[in-house]
Amino acid sequence: MEKRVVFRSAWLPYALLAPQIAVTLVFFFWPAVQAVWFSFQEQDAFGLRTEFVGLANFERLFRDENYLASFGTTALFSSLVAFSGIAISLLLATMADRVVRGALAYKTLLIWPYAVAPAVAGVLWAFLFAPSIGVITYVLKQAGIDWNWIIDAEQAMLLVVVASVWKQISYNFLFFLAGLQSIPRSLIEAAAIDGAGPLRRFWTIVFPLLSPTTFFLLVVNIVYAFFDTFGVIDATTQGGPAQATHILVYKVYYDGVKAADLGGSSAQSVVLMFIVIALTAVQFRFVERRVQY
């Protein structure tokens, strides 16, 4: 879409764009180019000498079992976060759409976790699940479950999933509620007159009509689990135990900052960039289709 009426000036548009473009060039393009450049280089341990090694970093990366395992961890983590987050929020949003009384109060009380930083969410849940003093740990012990996420890989994964889902529920909830409210009442009434019960109406009318929202949220939640959960992981498990929660983003940080492997970390950055580009492309293709329904 274009404006019919525009202004004319030889310099003003450039001046208005200058701040945005300057920041973009210095802090986005220049580092991105450097990431690609570093990924073709190898540095010695002291950072004194660098050598151009072509694709060697990538080769090393894809032969590294830890890196391949990290892909698996990320896939497991993001699908758990996306599916449980979407299921819980869909349930809550469907219920909130049904009730008339107190709808606003429920909404207000369900959306605030969006404001909590992922790292803080991690700390809250790590405290509840703390192996010796946690409240939930205590309840689990009473029930005969031995809980210690510091040494148990599956429990560590569960902890970061719970903390990440908890923070994301409010976001999914708001989008589902908006989606539900845009479904024409007449459709539901017609089905009710034909004798379809609430459950049947949900699965044959509401859920299919919500599918654009669900798909959109699926992509958003995967992106969230890929990148924004860095804080949750760093505040709780730090990738452990035995790399059980070492997701890709955490590995880029760990290898680059803690292990000072510039070439390897940059090669991972480049791989991640391709993943982001793919996810963004999926999201945008879909946005165009979403308009129709």
Binding site: P118, I133, Y138, T280
Partner: protein, 282 residues
């Protein structure tokens, strides 16, 4: 409501109440822990009713920090977080609104090139270019400074899109009328576009304030001095080891202080928040 089914309504309320309680439970335990002495929290199970140490814990955290972990006062961290959140929110709004004004209201060479340049930044979140961005900021001598904390996060494709989308809905008649009355582009921007954009600005402000306040990876990398910690970083610096080694009462008081400002922004500005959330995703 389509039909009257009292049982279903009751069930809906039950599920919602359960959901609200489950969502609020971690916050409640955090609050309770922040009102007790450390010894009380260390007892298993810890008390689940608020204690009497509220004032003591919060004033110690605000003024002095913890004794086992970072000893930076949390009041300073809250100040840093506020500076960061406000600078990012206002900076993003300012540079994107003028950039999208240029893109929508002018025809000039390289217009779509610049647009795509901004668009591509969507695909480069900080997390994927951590080390090189850190290097650039360090080369520019911006480590441990407010400029270093905020400037690299200020460019935003989403804000630019939001404003572009909105400007495209502003009727051309307004522009024509302004031009007939002899208003130049800047006058038109200031007197017509800016007042019309108020709601978009408010919505964007809420979202970006929370984004800035909750930043973690970036301040973690570029702040090494306690003076420059944001509160989210500060909490993690207070946690030093296993369960018994931390002053959980102070950590939890700091966690409350870290999450109250953005949670208040969300709940009090709910209308703008929902609008911002939905629109930035378009």
């Amino acid at each position: 409501m389509v039909e009257n089914r009292p049982f279903l309504v009751a069930l809906s309320h039950a599920v919602l109440v359960l959901g609200v309680l489950a969502v609020a439970f971690p916050l409640y335990v955090t609050f309770v822990a922040s009102t007790h002495r450390l010894e009380d929290i260390m007892q298993v199970p810890m008390p689940l009713l608020p204690g009497d140490q509220l004032v003591e814990n919060y004033s110690q955290a605000l003024a002095a920090g913890s004794t086992t972990g970072s000893s930076a006062p949390v009041a300073r961290m809250l100040f840093n977080s506020s500076v960061m959140a406000l600078a990012i929110a206002l900076g993003k709004i300012a540079i994107s609104i003028i950039a999208s004004f240029a893109i929508v209201y002018f025809r000039f060479p390289l217009r779509s090139f610049f647009f795509w340049m901004i668009f591509v930044t969507l695909m480069l979140p900080v997390e994927v270019r951590i080390i090189p961005t850190f290097k650039v900021v360090s080369d520019l001598g911006m480590l441990n400074s407010y400029v270093g904390l905020t400037l690299p996060l200020i460019a935003s494709a989403t804000a630019t899109f939001l404003f572009r989308q909105f400007f495209l809905t502003v009727p051309d008649e307004l522009t024509e009328a302004a031009r007939i009355d002899g208003a130049g582009p800047l006058r038109f921007f200031w007197d017509v576009v800016l007042p019309l954009s108020k709601t978009s600005i408010a919505a964007l402000f809420v979202i970006q304030f929370i984004y800035g306040w909750n930043q973690y990876l970036w301040p973690l990398l570029i702040t090494s001095e306690e003076d420059m910690y944001t509160v989210v970083i500060g909490i993690n610096r207070m946690i030093v080891g296993g369960d018994a080694a931390n002053e959980w009462n102070l950590v939890m008081a700091t966690a409350m202080l870290a999450l109250i400002p953005p949670a208040l922004v969300v709940m009090l500005m709910q209308r703008w928040f929902v609008k911002g959330l939905v629109e930035t995703e378009k």
